[in-house]
Every structure is written in C-alpha cells, then in structure tokens.
Symmetry: C4
Subunit: 282 residues, 4 copies
C-alpha cells in the first residue's frame, strides 16, 4: 500500500477504535484499507467540493453557537456527496474550536481511518444516514428552548408557518421502551441509535427523551435553518401555553406552509453568516 | 426612450415577474415604461430626499436586528414622499446585508421596474399603502415576544403607557375565515394582503394568525419606535399573565397616553442608533 | 451682571420654560438670576466635586443600559452636595448619548437656568428630593422584569437577601386613586409627582402603576446597586411564582439582611464599570 | 524571621482580621508565623503548580461571568494540592477585576496571612473543605435560573443526562431550622457554614435558602462544568414545569448518566475558554 505513506494514515492501520471499544463492532483491517484506497483515489478530484463542505460545517457550527442553539455538546455532519456510504464529522473537540482541518470521514458503521479522537455520539449520525437515504446532513444539539419538550408530556407541535416543516408533532425517542430505566440516556451505541433513527421515521426532527435534539435535512444550510426555527417555534409555544389556548397549524397548513418556507433557506444562511462576520467570528 | 440607456434599466423592459408568476397580475410593458419615465424625471430633484429615506430604511433594519425584533424574514418600507402611489422596499435579501443600494421602488400593485429579486411578501406593504393613505411606513417581523399572541386566544392589550398607541387590543387577521385551513399562512398574494389591510383597519399593528406581525406608522422612526415598544409590551404582558390578574389600561388612559408617548420618537431613534455605533454596526 | 457674559447663560435670562408651559409654575426672572449668581460663586470651589458627580451620573447611565435595566426613557439624578435644594440631571437626551457636558442643575421645583431641553419627568426627581431629605439620588426606569408588577395584583416582595433592602413589599403609586382613569399615566406634573413621593414614603422603590419604576438611595452607586438587584429579584420571583409556593423573607430577615448587603455597594460598581470597559463603552 | 523581609508579609504579622472581627476566631501570632514559614518553604518548588491554579481560578471566574452564571457576588476557590489544609481564594474584589495577583491562601478556619481584605463568605469554602476531603474546588454564586429553587417548595431534580450529576434532588440549607427567622441569611460565620457543609452532605450542590448556590467538585474545571449545566438544567425544568408533567430521571439513569457526562469536562472548559478569547476577555 505505497499510497498510504503518511505516518498518520499508516498508524491508523492499527484500526482506531472508540473510547468504548466494547460498543464498537470489529472491523477487519482489509475493510479499512479498502476504504482508505477508495478515499485516496477520490481525494484529488473532489478536493474543492470537500473543502466547500468542510467550510459549511465549520460555519454552521459557528452560526449555531452564535445564535445560542448549540452548547458544548453539539455536532453537525454532512454525507459525502460522491459516496453516500460515508459522512464528514468533526473530530471530538469543543465546537468553538473546530476548523476545516478537524473534519473526519466515517463509514455508515461510524468507523474512520482518522486516528484522532471521535465523538461518542457519532452513531446518531451513521445510523440516520443508513436509515434515511434522503438525508444529507445530521445535527445533534441541546437546543435550550426545545429541551423541555424532551421531558414533559406536552408534544412539540408547529404554531407558525416557520415551524410547518416539523409536521404534526415532533416524535420523541424513549430509550426506556426497550432498554429500561437504568441507561445513561446516551446515543453512544449503534443499537440505540438505530432506534433513534426509527423514531425519527420520515420526520425532520426527533427528540431524545431526557437528552436532546436531532435535526436532519437535505443540506447543511437546510439543517441550520430548521434548527434555528425549531428553537424559535419551541420558545413561542412555551410562552403561548402559559397565556392561553393554542390554535395549532392544521394538517393542510402544515403541508402548504412547509413547502413554501423551505425555498428561503439561503436567506437565513446569508443572514446568520453576516452576523458572524459582524461579531468578528468569521 | 433614450433616457433609459442603462443596461440594467433596459433589461428590465422584459418585464420582471415574481418567483410565483401566477400570483402576480400581468402588467403591460407600456405601464412599466410610463412608471420608469416618471421615475427618471423625478430622480434628480429628489435624490437627496430619497437618499435620506434609504439611509433610514437601512438604519431601521439594523436597529430592529440589533434590538432582537427582526429575524431573517423581516422587511421595512417607506412611501415615496412626492409620489404617494409608490413605496421603497429593499430587494429580496437577508436583512443584515441590506445597503442603500438595495432599495427598490414599487407601485401600489407591488410592481417594480427593478429587475433584481423582490420579497414575496411585498403585497403586505402595497395593500396597506393603498388602504391607509395616512401610513408612510410598513414593517413586517416575527417579533419574538409578540409571536405567541398570533396563535393563542389571549388578546394583546396595552398594560403600560408605552403600549397605549396599540389601542384597546391588537387586531388579528385570521386567514382561515375566507380561505379555509389549507393555506400556506403567507402574505404572498394581493388578495390576502388586502384582507390583512382590512383587519388592520385604523390600528397601528395587526397580527397575522400563525405567522407574524405588521406595524405601520407616520414615519420610519415612528414604526421602529412602535415595534420596539410592542415587543416590550408583549413580553411584560406575558409575564404578568403568569403571576397575577392584569389591570389593563382604561380607554381614557389609552387615549391620553397614546398621544403623549408619540412625541418622544426621536429619542428612541437616537438611542438605538447610538447603540448600533457602539456595536460597530453603523 | 457682568459675570453672565456668555451668550448661552444670557439668553436663558428669558426664562426657559418646559415643553408643556402650562404644567410649569411661573418663575420670576429675579429668582432665576439669584440662582445663577449663587451657582457661579460656588462653581470654582466645587468644580472637581461636581465633575466627579457628573462622571458618576454618566457611568451609572451606561451601566444601567449595559446591564439591560434602562431603556430609552430612563434618567438618573443626584442631589448637589453643598446645596440640598438643588439636583443634577441630564438634559433631555437619549440615555446612550449623555456626556458630562449634558448635566443640568434644577431647583426643587424642577426649574433650571439651563436653556437646553429638559426631561418632562424631572418632577419625579424634584418632588422626591423635597419629600425625602435623606435621598441623594433618584432613578426612573422601565426595568423589564419589574414592569409586570406595575400592572398585576401580585406584590413585589423580597425572596433573597439581595432584595432585603426592598422592605416588606414595594409600594405602588396608583394615579387613578386621585385622578381617575383618563390620565396619561405620566409623571409630568408636580402634583402627580408629589403623590408618587408620598407613595414612596420611606421605601427605596416605588412602582408607578402601568408606567414604571422609581429607585432612590443615599448615593448614585447605591441606587445603581439597588436597581440591579431589584431587577434580579423581580425576575427570580416571577419564575418562582410559576413553579411553586414562595417562601418570602421574614420581617427579621428583611431587617438583618438589608443592613448587611448595603455595605457591599462599591463591589457592584467596580464590577459593572469593568464590564463597561470590557465592552468598549467606558 | 529574616525570610519575611517583604514589607507586605511583615505587616501581616499584625494579624489581619476580617471586617467583622467578632465573627472570626482569634488566631495567635505564632500560628500565623508558622503558616507563613511553611508557605515560604514550599513557595519555590510549587510555584509553577500554583500559578497554574491561579490561572484556572481567574479563567473560571471570567467564564462564569461571560456565561451569565456569576454576578457581582460570586467566588471560586481551589484546595492547595500539596497542602489539603489550605485553599486559594481571591481577595475581596469585584469578580471581573480579579487577576492572578489577587489570590489569597487560607487555612481551613478561613484565616490568611495576606493582609488585603477577604470575602466575608470565605467560611463557606473553609467549612466545606473541612467536611469533604474529596472536594478540590468550591464555588458560590447567585446563578439566576437556580435562584428560584432557593425559595420555592419545588425541588430541583435532574431532567436531562447533563443534570444527572445532581443526584435525586439538590439539598437546601434552611438557616431558619437552627437560627430562627431573624438572621441575615448570610454565610458569614463558621457555624452557619458548618451547617451548610452538613446540608451539602455528599452532594455536588447545595442551595442556601433565600440566598444562593454552592457547587463543589474534584477540580476547578469540573465545578465550572457543573455550574454551567446546573444553570441550564434549572432553566429547562422551570420551563417544563409550566407546560406539562415532568418525567424526571430515574435513579438508575441518574447513576449511569452521571458517570458518563463527567468524562467530558475538558471539552466544556475548552469551549468556554475559546468564547472568552473570542469576546476579547482572555
């Protein structure tokens, strides 16, 4: 394998495993080697396309922090355009520190040949990419106004046209259903994350009970847009529930408004990017 | 038409249509040409007056973002002083990116000879200018503390002298009344916007059910002032409703305080403009 | 009067009146002239003491804006140390624009020889200085978390040691009691402000029903301190009222804790001043 | 004592006492001298280790202010690694002003040979270090979203995995139990602080009724992490209580998730430190 001359790649041949090795399925060295060869071949032709995606993932992370949606424990990934069996996700780092040099490439079992540390929750991403071929981007956050809906019996339903994309009500993944009430509530294993993907179904958002939020979409920009308006919708609903009786969106409104709003995604991205520049963060 | 020598104006002779052409009434080329001639004639004499309005529209947008009233989807317009059948509104752009070079001129059917993209919701502006000759400025936002009042049965009524301008209670436009519950909840058509203007009546604010807020006033500065205090009034009322029984303003207080506060508009403008400068945003 | 050679002072001999002349008692030219002479005599000896007060009033205004307590319509004044019948208050300006050059000197009828515009609400200050010889500083704000307590039947009572200075409950001035329910809710007349001072009694804070807040204290720094912790106390109480039964401070705790906290005022001033510097605002 | 040549140390031989001398147990000069000798001997060898701790205490203070958890009256301390009978705590200063040159060294009776002013509440720190040998860091704040749980009958219990470290419910120290309802609610005496430590028990947090919050942990970084997520957990619970029935963490989840989250502390520290740098504060 002369193309694997770099010491970093070479050392990864010892099969990097996660911090919790017992949670990770065994991968043979030959599988990893195949993946690395494939990656190397495509590297030159796709370089600029990948750089663009890396830029978007870094900018998305900055926007989500700056707009107060992501705290210390969020992460956003994107499917590799020319290889749907792979996705890009930053190495295990504080989100405010991530640069384009921190992006790792994973297969849909959450494995990487990058020998730097990886997020424990990467299976949330891998299992959703596996279950949802239409999804190009996955985001996990503890979005503060959404968080209460992860532990109350009140469903999160759309109340304005900006939330129509949510559908009738945001599904909630309840880990207790299969695993009882002694778990760590964490998305650190492939099997739990498969169930999260199942709860997500064809929706754009799923809540993890007593944990947090997962957003998906067709692009990094769409997911940032949806994360922003999910937070705003949850904040408005929480206030509304305290002051009167809610008039929720009807099924017809959810359908019609959901389509309309989706066409305006770049305006959001331009707006939040400009706010980053004004704050000296981009 | 030798006065239309600029390539940009010339190309617009191909009749710019909106993104949703079926929603826009057909305009003949001769009407557009007439409008453009009229505009060119007045351009020289009114240049500095218009520049001042453009500056105010840009500053107003920045203030509304900086004071957390406008998100990605707001826009503010001003009637053309010497031509009440026209109004100025930015081209379709993220609000944080708008400059004085982005202002378009529309007639009261929401049509423009400017061939750059226009906001789909411009009819909210055009129909209100048509219905309310006294109005010189129109603003659309998703003002966060006001948003809950767009989908609960609790009326938004003034609770302090700063909200007296609102009158007895802010009217709500309910699109379901005429159009049923399968709409996109959007102000994208002239007919819906005519109804919004009708719901507004002689009030300074109208809420669009499950969508957002429209403010109007005698000047850009007055509308910014009213948008700021509408947001503050809604936040205070929401808190008040949760902690006790509300003592609302009486009709006499609404009348007397409404007049008084209106005289202090420039102080607000000066204050928020200075805060923009301090934030390095102006 | 050769000492009044400056054109500005000279022109003020034409007796500056307020924007609402009918609300202001007539002052004879000789009274004004006397006041001016007295002021000039003391000017040299007290210059540095006054400059220090002007600095504190400007810094206090900046702190109150930066800590989100004062909006467009607040103002803070200080009694003149060597002349208890006078007080300093900025001219009528947006608070973010005030500098040491904007301070006016008023007598306890709210009159000044300064011919620049004055705040309409200056009688709130003058009447409290008249009624409360112990008070050295008066502040008027629309402190956002306190505002709801101006229009609900829920009293604002201390819930932590930081609010012990408030006493048993913050008194509320209800303008309807004497003036009915057709007023402008405004503190623009001496007679209304006399009643506000009466409602204040010996308390450190009085709420003006459906209007705002008045804080008083022994120094500019104490009033800023109290305004900050009044806001924090109101926010905590509002949250507490929504989640359980409140255990308020007992009379003994109010008494003991009130004395203790008052000794720490400079720490607050130092802290908030440093935050101003860090924000590039001082 | 020739090694005490510095005038500052020399002058402290006059036995610095607190602002409330009657609250402080009398310390003989010989005890102080002993402590000083011991300190001097170790000073050289431990200098860089101490400097690292001073840096962490200063950075922790800045993070807690920047993330809106600490107001004017918070303070954070660290046990001296090589001398468990001592701890470091800043001198009595506004938190935003503290530098590495402001750290004082105390024994577990809250006494110091440093002759600059000390916080009155230092006994909260000393008594907890005495009662809890495992604790390496103590923090006192008025964390705003936690404050309501200091005066309502609603227990603060974990609702997400990030709050699992709290255990079943945060204990509350009620000063009235032993001292009646005429106290100043303050942690200014060793005996009250002994009771606070007793209420803390083996928990990571104790609330002081009608006063504030105390966090403890194994390191400065762990305590900052816990303070941040305590605030977030309280905010989420307060919102949740207002919109539905809460599904709290089960005992098993508290146990399992508490262990997991604790492993991620440095990511929080890196994230908040980077935000300080971005804000120009570090």
């Amino acid at each position: 394998m002369p193309e694997m001359s770099s010491s970093k790649i070479g050392s990864s041949a010892s099969t990097k495993t996660s911090e919790f090795p017992h949670r990770r399925s065994i991968t043979t060295i030959s599988m990893i080697a195949d993946a690395m060869q494939r990656e190397n071949l495509k590297m030159t032709e796709n370089k600029s396309a990948h750089e663009k995606i890396f830029d978007e993932l870094v900018t998305a992370t900055k926007i989500l922090i700056n707009e107060r949606i992501m705290d210390t424990f969020g992460h956003i990934s994107a499917r590799v355009p020319e290889d749907p069996q792979s996705f890009f996700l930053a190495q295990k780092l504080a989100p405010s520190l991530i640069t384009v040099n921190d992006i790792q490439r994973f297969n849909l079992d959450g494995e990487t040949s990058d020998n730097r540390p990886s997020y424990l929750e990467r299976y949330i991403h891998s299992e959703i990419y596996k279950a949802r071929p239409d999804v190009q981007c996955v985001l996990h956050t503890h979005s503060p106004a959404v968080l209460p809906y992860c532990f109350v019996d009140q469903p999160l339903r759309p109340v304005t046209h900006m939330g129509a994309f949510l559908g009738d009500a945001v599904p909630v993944y309840e880990i207790r259903d299969k695993h009882g009430d002694d778990t760590d509530l964490f998305g650190g294993s492939p099997s739990v994350c498969r169930d999260i993907a199942e709860s997500l179904g064809s929706y754009p958002v799923v809540l993890m009970a007593r944990h947090g939020v997962v957003n998906v979409g067709n692009s990094v920009r769409e997911v940032v847009f949806r994360a922003f308006y999910l937070e705003q919708e949850a904040a408005a609903l929480t206030a509304g529930l305290q002051i009167g009786t809610i008039k929720y969106l009807s099924p017809g409104e959810i359908n019609a408004a959901g389509k309309l709003v989706g066409a305006q995604i770049d305006r959001g991205w331009d707006h939040w990017s400009q706010r980053l520049r004004q704050a000296g963060l981009a």
